[in-house]
Amino acid sequence: VSGDSVTCPFCGLGCDDLVRADDGVDARGCAKAARGFARAGLARKPHAIGGQAADLAAAAAAAARFLRDAKAPLFHGLSADLAGVRALLELAERVGGTIDHVNSAALLANAAVARASGWVTATFGEVANRADLVLLVGGDPARSFPRFHERLTANATPLYRDGPPAVAYLGPREEAPGTAGLAAFVARADLLDALGVLAMLLRGAAPRRAPDRFAAAPLALIAERLAGARYGAIVWDATAFMPGEAEMAAELLAAMLRELNVKTRCVGLPLGGSENGIGAMQAALWQAGWPLRLGFAGGAPVHDPWRFDGRRRIEAGEADLLVWVAALAPEAPPATRSPVIAIVADDVAFPAPAAVEIRVGIPAIDHAGAVFRSDTVIALPLQATRPSDRLSVADAARAILAALGPPS
């Protein structure tokens, strides 16, 4: 890795071995990174108030007016680097708003399990160097994390094992990775039940009549391999489960991990956290003491994964102002009848002009910063990859804070 390597913030893998090239950044074959860094070519859009171009001071002042008048402002999207998240948390608290990240549903399914019963996990470095068995649950991680196999199971010089790890798979046949030597194919709708069967098998209690659709025979083999592995790793992405089942699935996996570690070692690796979702969770935890889906209406932080679900609040009409933040991913705000303050990159478009638009740069393209990796421990530095005077999300949030004036 040369001194000129750059970090990609566009998925939770946090690859930091990309290199500057004449026309931007060489994405090392990753389509997601290539798409992300290609955004460097965006045409610049002006800040705007009601569709009319405005300077930053006027836009921030307009945003401050909307925030002062709002009874229940919602900060959502939150696709920003760590500095942006820290500043938005301060702004949300200041105006008594609620705050949520666009990817928090899956993260909260995992967090709920960690909080309710605990588990055993590890970082990428441990899995890449130590795991002799990797069980992929729910689908091929490469679909959302393109370089997953290259980085976590195909490490050419692992510290603690000879050769590549055995890769096992439990999930829908059509989403299986090509690398799995052992697979239990089950339909997505049967995944939760199959995990239940696996948990029973690991306890030595073979289910008496497991229907064929649970692939009991290959599951028994997976159970045997997990128990026999020196250092197993179970990888899942909570978005791979049926709606509403992620938390139960994670709970079953956590229970397996707790039990396996009585005799051998086995770790979980919950994937997720693209668009710095992990960073948003971490900053909320340290600033407020709670993970996201936070409300500050009463002044003190309150965490409620249902009440402060941003999407739900918009659909239920509970937010009278939406502050939509989209810098890392060019996601348009959800439809709402409430006014929208958009703190967004130049490629975020609106069906109708937002009340206030503050255009910001893209982390790792326009400015430096930091994002958290999926494994929650490591914050990676981002490097600006072109000269730019575009604002960061943190700049925008601070401009609005300044426009709000001294707190009273």
Binding site: V1, W286, G289
Partner: protein, 556 residues
């Protein structure tokens, strides 16, 4: 800007006499001699009959980092019961008592008269995150100790019999890369061994794969820290935490330092014998006796406080063992980056539980049997023995034998019989409290302008009103100044300026970078160039930095 604290009794153990009744003058954030040119103060505080001490310094408190955030996640009750809005305009909301959020942490420490706090267990790969989090801890100065001794690079170089100078260079590089103030070793070799499914590691037991025994790791790190001239000695969390009979390991750890300075942290958890019908006994007298005779050793106590808390440790091996005591029954263990780990176990210390009660007594025995207050520091290993908010109660326990007797009467009767505590008459003096919580930690950490009230010192000052209720006195100082600015009054924060991140930057031979770079290129999942925290990143996060000098390189 000149500030005058008028009419107080200044208590500064670094001066003789220790106590003197005189005004304290402050100019531009620093303590100065009384002006002789007749200039008046721009601001004056009435400290008549009050005790004036330097701001207190916590040498070991888990306040930031990945494991602290996991602790917050696990502690929903703590955060629901202790949530607060911003106390006034310009302050932030927060929550938590055992695992407080960052702003709450800074406010609560400052309100108690603390002006510097050190996070003792920063995993190297978590350094960037920990420092960005630390930037959100207001008012107090803060710093972090980087954990070494289970990191793959060090273990393999020790196995290869690398020269000590190379180890020194590596430690220096690591300290600079992680913006560390000191080096801590946690269960030397044991966290790595746990990843190989080894559930314990004796001090002289060869570790898995590399065959390096903990004693060798401890000796190499103690030598490196000494040779690099790092002010704070190697900060040691001994092997065998919590195991009855672990006093043998602890005493052997002192030997392993081979006369070099070491600091044994949360010594209470490493001070157990196996006597009695429950095979669990106090070894505080043994450890205190050894500490009293061994001037190169300092300890902090890790006092247990009865009530609920969260235990957060880098010691995955010990925490996995302790999971059976989890209350409520849930726990988290994490292996980190061929480097370290963390384990979280919620816990409730009960005065009617024999073991917990004896742990409480063992901590107090250590406080009272170690004679030199310059070598013992007041900690609860926050939050592992209890929340830092309980410090005022601990001061009262140390200063009042009557109060101690009262508390002793409440605990499990068998623990009461098993402890020497009832027979110990010692009561700490205010001067000794000032040493243990101010002057001594400042000296140990190399903070030359902290912990005293002499001209030139940073004007970090706590003003206490003497009263019969010692706990109330230490809980709510009348005034607390940070850099000459009043930050708290009568236990309520009044301003929240930013403190500074304390760190040291030992020198090293650059050839180590090539070696470590190759290791990173071959094995690590973060690039060598992205691992170190850059000065600009700290500045961008709003963290001021104060670099403390190291002694010239070479063995003392």
């Amino acid at each position: 800007m000149i500030v005058r604290l008028a009419g107080g009794r200044l208590l500064d153990p670094t001066r003789s006499p220790v106590e003197r009744r005189e005004d304290l003058w402050i100019e531009n954030g620093r303590i100065v001699a009384a002006p002789t040119d007749g200039r008046a103060a721009d601001r004056a505080y009435d400290a008549k009959d009050c005790l004036v001490m330097a701001g207190a310094i916590d040498i070991h408190s888990h306040i930031v980092g990945g494991k602290v955030n996991l602790g917050r996640l696990l502690s929903a009750t703590d955060h629901r019961d202790h949530a607060h809005a911003a106390s006034a305009p310009g302050f932030r909301a927060g929550s938590g008592l055992a695992t407080p959020s960052t702003y709450t942490t800074g406010y609560r420490y400052a309100a108690m008269g603390y002006t510097a706090v050190f996070e003792p267990a920063m995993v190297a790969s978590n350094a960037r995150a920990a420092h960005l989090e630390m930037a959100d801890v207001p008012i107090v100065d803060r710093g972090a100790y980087v954990m070494l001794g289970n990191d793959e690079y060090l273990l393999r170089r020790l196995a290869a019999n690398a020269a000590q100078e190379e180890i020194d260079d590596y430690v220096a590089w690591m300290m600079r890369a992680t913006a560390a103030h000191a080096v801590k070793v946690v269960n030397a070799g044991g966290i790595s061994a746990f990843k190989f499914n080894q559930r314990g590691l004796g001090l002289d037991e060869p570790g898995p794969l590399h065959g390096v025994a903990p004693r060798r790791i401890l000796a190499a790190l103690a030598r490196a820290v000494a040779a690099l001239g790092v002010p704070h000695p190697l900060h040691v969390h001994c092997n065998d935490l919590g195991i009855p009979g672990n006093i043998d390991t602890t005493l052997a750890t002192i030997d392993a330092a081979e006369g070099l300075p070491i600091h044994l942290t949360h010594a209470q958890f490493h001070c157990y014998g196996t006597e009695g019908k429950r095979h669990f006994s106090s070894a505080a007298a043994l450890l205190a006796d050894r500490v009293n005779r061994t001037p190169n050793v300092s300890i902090d106590v890790g006092q247990v406080v009865f009530g609920p808390t969260m235990t957060e440790s880098g010691d995955t091996q010990a925490q996995f063992r302790n999971r059976r005591f989890a209350e409520p029954d849930k726990w988290i263990s994490m292996d980190i980056e061929c480097d370290g780990g963390c384990g979280l176990v919620p816990f409730r210390y009960r005065d009617k539980n024999f073991v917990n009660a004896l742990q409480w007594a063992i901590g107090l025995e250590l406080f009272l049997l170690v004679e030199d207050p310059w070598r013992i520091f007041l900690t609860t290993d926050h939050p592992n023995g209890g929340p830092f908010a309980s410090y005022p109660q601990l001061v009262r326990l140390l200063m009042s034998r009557d109060y101690r007797e009262e508390c002793l009467a409440q605990i499990h009767p068998a623990a009461r019989k098993a402890t020497l505590l009832g027979g110990i008459r010692r009561e700490y003096t205010l001067g000794e409290i000032a040493i243990m919580t101010r002057a001594a930690p400042a000296r140990s950490l190399g903070l030359a302008d902290r912990g005293h009230l002499r001209p030139g010192a940073m004007a970090d000052v706590a003003v206490y009103r003497p009263q019969s209720d010692l706990e109330a006195m230490f809980r709510a100082p009348v005034h607390v100044l940070k850099g000459g600015v009043e930050v708290a009054r009568n236990g309520t924060v009044t301003a929240a300026p930013a403190g500074a991140t304390q760190l040291v930057r030992p020198e090293y031979d650059r050839t180590i970078e090539g070696r470590v770079r190759r290791f990173f290129d071959d094995h690590m999942t973060i690039g060598f160039d992205h691992f170190p925290l850059a000065d600009q990143e700290l500045a961008d996060a709003g963290a001021m930095v104060e670099v403390r000098p190291c002694r010239a390189r070479g063995m003392p």
